[in-house]
């Protein structure tokens, strides 16, 4: 399929593909097995300017849009989804500053994220607030010298390894979601600590941890945008990051498809490679169709985000839902094509199947996102 990528986009895709094949694929099994954070690979991505893709040029980035980010994400995910989500979480963790931060905040924090010297993280979810994100309980009370944060954030990607956190907390609890604000909190701020590191089914190279705030004083200058806008900003940022999770799912599916085709070519049963079996060909063809369809939808959604339209909730949700469902199906079928071997950890496809599952869950469960799409459909249309 010709996706009409320009030179710059092809350069990003080709370089990240090379990093993925030369550096990530050889390391992924061990990273997964040992639940080891991929610091070495993060360093390579930093050296190669991959963290600059999503940062504006004024702060040392390359000013890429959603599509450029998706291309990097897809290729990283072909290597390892645990690595790729650590990368993407850094983008989401500083994206509030990119979109809504003051010039001072941008110049202070973004250059180091662009250089890959520091990672960022985004903290919205709490024990009582998953899909119902408006149910957060973490509070930020105005005091002399800033805001006092109290509460616990759960399941935070890059929790502990990131230096910079965007934290959504209630500045006006009586107003609920409309009383939420976004704060920049730096690691090492007194009163800010990390709870347990989660043991996960997949994306095990990534770190997921609790953030604990106990009378954590954050300067008033660290509030992003206007107080009370935190929830609206968070929803908008998540809309924009959904195609990126779609791209992650496409990368996982592509990798599983390639592994299945390679295996089917080599595996001989009944005197011939199993790829000669029509029943296997049928599965592989279906996997290829689904993967390419997902890619096309993800790229289209990313271009929609980049077009500057005001509302892209529906397109972004569609891309994420479709691609993640495809990744789940394709990885499961890849395990099936490899048969007993596919179920073993000696082959990479069982990991891909475990990794694929999370793409149906995070950044909005596919169920909640179908609600989002349905809500858009129910809106009366202006003629």
């Amino acid at each position: 399929m010709e996706h009409l990528l320009n030179e710059e986009q092809k350069t990003i895709r080709d370089l990240v593909r090379r990093i993925s094949e030369e550096k990530i694929m050889p390391a992924r099994a061990e990273l997964d097995e040992k639940e080891k954070f991929p610091w070495e690979i993060i360093g390579i991505l930093a050296e190669s300017d991959i963290f600059r893709v999503f940062i504006p040029e004024a702060q040392g980035g390359l000013g890429g849009g959603c599509l450029e980010f998706c291309l990097a994400m897809e290729e990283l995910s072909r290597g390892c989804a645990g690595v790729s989500i650590s990368y993407a979480a850094s983008a989401l963790g500083c994206h509030a500053i990119v979109e809504y931060g003051s010039e001072e905040q941008k110049n202070r924090y973004l250059p180091e994220i662009a250089a890959g010297k520091k990672l960022a993280a985004f903290a919205l979810t709490e024990a009582t607030a998953g899909s119902d994100a408006a149910a957060i309980r973490t509070t930020a009370v105005k005091v002399d010298g800033g805001y006092l944060l109290n509460g616990t954030k759960q399941f935070i990607t890059n929790g502990g390894v990131a230096e910079l956190y965007t934290v959504i907390a209630l500045t006006d609890p009586d107003k609920g979601a409309r009383g939420a604000s976004a704060f920049i909190v730096e690691k090492g701020t007194p009163g800010f600590s990390f709870g347990k590191k989660e043991k996960k089914m997949g994306i095990r190279a990534s770190t997921t941890a609790e953030l604990i705030f106990k009378d954590c004083l954050v300067p008033a200058a660290n509030i992003i945008g206007k107080p009370g806008m935190g929830f609206i900003m968070a929803m908008r940022l998540l809309d924009g990051s959904r195609p990126v999770i779609g791209a992650q799912a496409v990368g996982i599916a592509q990798s599983a498809l390639e592994a299945a085709v390679d295996y089917a070519r080599q595996r001989v049963q009944f005197g011939q490679p199993i790829i000669n079996q029509p029943v296997v060909q049928d599965m592989l063809a279906e996997m290829a169709i689904q993967t390419e369809a997902a890619r096309s939808l993800v790229y289209a959604a990313a271009r929609t985000v980049d077009s500057g339209v005001k509302n892209f909730s529906q397109e972004a949700a569609m891309a994420k839902v479709f691609a993640s469902d495809v990744a789940m199906k394709v990885t499961s079928d890849a395990v099936q094509v490899l048969g007993g071997a596919g179920y073993m950890r000696d082959y990479p496809v069982e990991k891909m199947m475990r990794d694929a599952k999370i793409t149906q869950i995070y950044e909005g469960t596919n169920q909640v996102l179908r609600n989002v799409i349905a809500a858009e459909l129910r809106k009366p249309k202006a003629k």
């Binding site: 190669s48 300017d49 600059r52």
Partner: protein, 261 residues
């Protein structure tokens, strides 16, 4: 420091085809790469520049498409590059190659260090580095596995020898060839690729470097490749028969005969 790194574009395949007339490699239709040993030279040049300041100039002799190899060097940190290209340079052996490179490097003076890979993967001779040093009248150290120090106009390196390492030092300017133990070459960066793409790379011909036609290319070559062939690799097994005692006696006899015992 002004560091010149010499590199060569080579066919990126093991299925090399040979021109039966000239016995040279047919380069058409084959994806070319930077000679892998030279990537260590580029990396070391860039690291030394990062440590000591200055600039890295990538230099190659080759057909016009060899400019791709130079762009690759820029994408991983070389500051600029020069292509030596002239129909008269074609068919050069190591001697004529070294002469051509030396003429060009002479035009770049003053320089501090010349870094080459230990050998190429196509010719495999490892001769260009030392010949270049000879022609430039500079000290030469081969198989450098670590640059220990550069200070006071001198260079101290560790080099691999058969049974260990040697520490050597030499006054600058000097020529070194590096082994693959010296570093892990970095991958390109997005900004590096962008710089490489827009870099203006001058092409110097024989006149530009003041090279004598009789000393370059095929006519300047002291050696000729007369034949290239794949060696016949015949492995023949033999099974000895009879009682174990006679088999052993026979085996020992054969081993003595062949000088193994």
């Amino acid at each position: 420091m002004k560091i010149v790194v010499c590199l060569k574009q080579v066919p990126g395949t093991t299925e090399i085809k040979i021109d039966s007339e000239t016995n040279n490699i047919i380069r058409q239709g084959i994806k070319n790469i930077v000679n892998p040993f030279d990537t260590y030279a580029v990396e070391e040049g860039v690291r030394l520049k990062e440590r000591h300041g200055g600039e890295v100039i990538a230099l190659t002799m080759g057909p016009p498409q060899a400019v791709d190899a130079l762009r690759e060097a820029i994408s991983v940190g070389a500051d600029r590059a020069v292509l030596l290209s002239d129909p008269g340079f074609a068919g050069a052996d190591t001697w004529a190659t070294a002469y051509t490179l030396a003429q060009a490097i002479g035009r770049m003076a003053p320089y501090d260090l010349i870094v080459c890979g230990r050998q190429t993967i196509d010719g495999d001779t490892g001769q260009v580095g030392p010949e270049l040093a000879e022609m430039l009248g500079l000290p030469f150290i081969a198989y450098v596995s670590r640059v220990e120090e550069i200070a006071g106009g001198r260079l101290r390196v560790r080099r691999m020898v058969e049974e260990g390492y040697e520490i050597m030092d030499a006054p600058l300017p000097a020529v070194i060839t590096v082994s693959k133990e010296i570093n892990v070459p970095r991958l390109p960066s997005l900004r590096g690729i962008s710089k490489a793409r827009s870099a203006v790379i001058p092409a110097w011909d024989a006149a530009a470097i003041g090279a004598e036609a009789a000393k370059t290319g095929l006519q300047g070559s002291a050696t000729r490749v007369t034949r290239i062939f794949f060696p016949q690799w015949v492995v023949q097994g033999e099974i000895l028969e009879g009682e174990p005692e006679t088999q052993v006696a026979e085996l020992i006899g054969r081993l003595r005969e062949s000088g193994v015992l």
